[in-house]
Amino acid sequence: MKTALLFNFDVDKKNDTIHVERSFNAPIDLVWAAWTEAEILDQWWAPKPYQAVTKSMNFEVGGRWHYYMLGPEDDIHWCLFHYESIEKEKHFSGIDTFCDESANINNTKPRVKWKNEFSEEEDSTIGQYPASF
């Protein structure tokens, strides 16, 4: 059975926070793997025609995911995700920033602070992603 997928995007201007909620037709272990394993992330993280390519990933508190988005004109945009907290199959949080090839953070571009929470409901998983900037 294919249930309608939930997708909420609410902007809280006062606190500069965006509340994103989305459901997935998959068990929580698969959704968790898709968010936390580089080889799976590379398949969906970049909006096509961009392609995400992981340079290194260390999924642990204090660790980071260093990757780039490869554009259709071979343009490369380096990004860095810092993991601040992790609780397996429940939530993880961190900060997504732009950087360069050597992972030096570019402070002049917007950074996004994410908390990703997952919960299972029957045969689907709901992800909640409050983002602040």
Binding site: F9, A34, K109
Partner: protein, 108 residues
């Protein structure tokens, strides 16, 4: 490194967000703005400088005082960015659906 100044730089700081909200209500002098904050006048004037560099404020001289106005049209850039951000997430999640579908198939 080139310093980029734009609306996102402006709203990245809580004090600057508060200044934007104050000026959204009406034009104010630097002292008038500083009266609303616990921090030093120097700190507040630094934030005003950043906001000016972000092209969010215009100045108007009235007698001896300078009044700062908020350029509301610049804030529209944020709305535009939010729309793009929503699009990006929608696309990203659609792609994730496909990947999850493949993962489920290969598990069977």
């Amino acid at each position: 490194m080139e310093i980029r100044r734009d609306v996102f730089q402006a709203i990245a700081d809580p004090t600057r967000r508060a200044i934007i909200l104050l000026l959204a209500v009406g034009a104010m002098t630097p002292n008038g703005i500083a009266d609303h904050f616990q921090t030093s006048r120097q700190a507040v004037s630094k934030h005003i400088k950043v906001l000016t560099e972000c092209d969010l404020l215009s100045q108007e001289q009235q007698g001896r005082e300078i009044y700062y106005h908020l350029k509301a049209d610049k804030m529209k850039e944020i709305e535009k960015w939010l729309d793009q951000f929503r699009e990006l997430l929608a696309k990203r999640f659609d792609q994730l659906d496909q990947v999850l579908h493949q993962l489920k198939q290969s598990k069977k």
